[in-house]
């Protein structure tokens, strides 16, 4: 599927800042589930940005702004061709060893109730991971049937029962899943990206997880939607948790990053 993305976000350095430094994790890479047709990251100073690969294999930009005035706006645009591989990414060159993703971080501490029943489970790793995804859904809540469910044909059914209590953000689901998997000694990582056709409390700038299976390699799990990522998921960056994959970081920081606009649509 060809997907066009436009994402605009902004951040405001404190007044009087002499030198603002930004780190952007906003450049996707081609892989088994996606190829990059075009991509651009625009902001003042990007031409002189330092570009590097971070510890998790993501493309990062380091941008400087001398005496910034007011908010700094970053605009990301591109077209990605995606393929549905039922979440299976396999093994990708240039990535750190999967074992790294057994490291528990403060954001990925999961309660025993979440993963305890799988501790001595006889099931295959794949079955355990699907079970864990379901447990995360039970613990944090899932959309009521008929309420903005993703449909196989790509459209959405319309929510019928009105808006219920809002569910936690996708990052909570991803962190829980990653934490549960790591507690079971399964390497798991946090993934950021874009989701086409998001609705009903699911943001287009989305978060999910990937877990490692010795046979299949990396497999995606989207516990917020209770599915494996499809061709509607565009993968942006992966890391230990939401902190190491933040799309935009600023020093000195004052208020948080604001999402100005994000549109993800069939191209």
């Amino acid at each position: 599927m060809r997907i066009a993305i436009r994402h605009q976000l902004s951040v405001t350095p404190p007044a009087g800042t002499a030198n603002a430094v930004l780190q952007l994790l906003l450049t996707p890479q081609g892989g088994p589930t996606q190829s990059i047709e075009s991509w651009s990251v625009e902001m003042a100073g990007i031409g002189n940005a330092g570009r590097f690969i971070d510890a998790y294999g993501n493309i990062a930009h380091l941008v400087n702004q001398s005496r910034p005035e007011g908010e700094l706006v970053v605009t990301v645009k591109g077209v990605i061709e995606t393929t549905d591989r039922h979440g299976v990414l396999g093994r990708i060159g240039g990535e750190p060893v999967p074992a790294l993703y057994r490291r528990v971080t403060p954001l990925t501490k999961a309660p025993v109730a979440l993963y305890g029943k799988y501790r001595n489970a006889k099931e295959t790793r794949l079955d355990i991971l699907h079970g864990l995804m379901a447990r995360v859904g039970e613990a944090l809540g899932v959309d009521a049937p008929g309420q903005s469910q993703m449909q196989a044909d790509g459209g959405q059914s319309q929510g019928q029962g009105g808006v219920a209590k809002p569910l936690p953000p996708a990052s909570d689901y991803a962190h829980s899943f990653v934490g549960g998997a790591r507690a079971l000694d399964i390497p798991a990582r946090y993934v950021t990206g874009y989701l086409m056709g998001a609705e009903g409390g699911v943001a287009a700038f989305h978060a999910w997880a990937e877990a490692f299976d010795d046979g299949l390699g990396w497999i995606g799990f989207d516990p917020r939607l209770q599915i494996c990522p499809t061709d509607r998921h565009v993968r942006l960056a992966a890391g230990l948790d939401g902190l190491s994959t933040q799309p935009l970081r600023l020093v000195p920081a004052e208020d948080g990053v604001r999402e100005l606009e994000v549109s993800v649509a069939a191209a």
Binding site: A49, G50, R51, I53, D54, L62, V251
Partner: protein, 473 residues
Amino acid sequence: MAETAPFDEMYNADGSVREPYRALNAWLEEQPDKALTLMQSDAEAIFRKLGITFAVYGSEEGTEKVIPFDVIPRIIAAQEWRKLSKGIEQRVKALNAFLYDIYHRQEILKAGRIPEKLILQNAAFAPEMMGLEPAKGVYAHIIGVDIVRVGPDEYYVLEDNLRTPSGVSYMLEDREAMMQLAPDLFHRCKVAPVETYPENLRRTLESVAPAGAGQSPNIAVLTPGIYNSAYFEHSFLADQMGAQLCEGPDLFVDGGKVYMRTTTGPERVDVIYRRIDDDYLDPLTFRPDSMLGVPGLFNAYRAGNVTLVNAPGTGIADDKAVYTYVPEIVEFYLGEKALLSNVPTYNCTDEEQRNWVLANIADLVVKEVHGSGGYGMMVGPTSTKAMHAEFRRKIEARPDNYIVQPTLALSTCPTYVNAGVAPRHVDLRPYVLVGDRVRITPGGLTRVALKKGSLVVNSSQGGGTKDTWVLED
């Protein structure tokens, strides 16, 4: 172990003088009364003039103190040193190979030689370092290995100190003071020079500059500032090397490269000898509240535009829990048996070992896994019963936070104290530089516990230093 007489480096058990100390002994015997007393007060004057002070954390009276210096040098024979330095070189090579592996393919974990959890869940492991290719594959460039001697031919490594070991300025100043105090003694003994250290440090740093840095790379020493206990050393080393001393705000990153603000405009920096802890290096990558670091510095490092010395994340190799695996590490990467021994270490998370430790705590040394500088430790034989009880409670509450070792009978050296010349316990911290090759300064810093019977040599705990002589053949 504490009951047996410790090995004295000057006198044999029968009172005869050991070979390396003969010239010194003769010289000491020739000295008129009070000569040592005079030397000792001259030494203090020299150190005050040099301005060598250190800060004692939590001390009430002024923060700056002159570290006590003992006028009687410690002497190591040439063949003793050859053996020792061979063991040190082996160890630092293995530890650098370990760091490379841990931050790349982790073969040693896959081989099951070290428990994976011990590394991956360790606070000292820096995931941000994964896959980074440091210049020449070196992570720990500047190392101060703490060694104790317990017999004529028996040494133990206490700690490897791969994070920014301090004290090298004392080694240099001790030598300078000694040459002023007893120039005639240097005519009688052929002493290997230590003055080459700053030059060797400079060469080492230049050898690990990024590829594009050119013939004479620009080197900066990054200090947390004047309130740091080792600030004197930072400025001293920068001065000796002819490098710029700077603080975080003096540096900035632009276009992925690091620059220093100077009166004539920005100047590119290629190598940073940083004396700031990992956590504070770069608020964009590590602690966001750090005011000491340089935003973007770590990313410039990842991009290969600057070399950080030592690399972040080297602490995983000198972690007290990883320490017990160093002999394993030497064998795994070099295929050799470790030449230097580790101190046997008890693991308190193991119930059997813990029970034994709790029953025998009065004879043991307890150290905090992440402690340093002699803080948070207890030496059983010289501690009170209340202290024993306190540390028993601490170990029971957090067994993983402590390692326990037997009390070693550290060797003694003659030391000038109020009562005259008397034996005092010493340790040794040789300084090792790793770049295009391994450079070890002959000798190092000898720390001496000035209190009779004390085994704690840290300057923050009442220790002093001695000039350390390695004799040349």
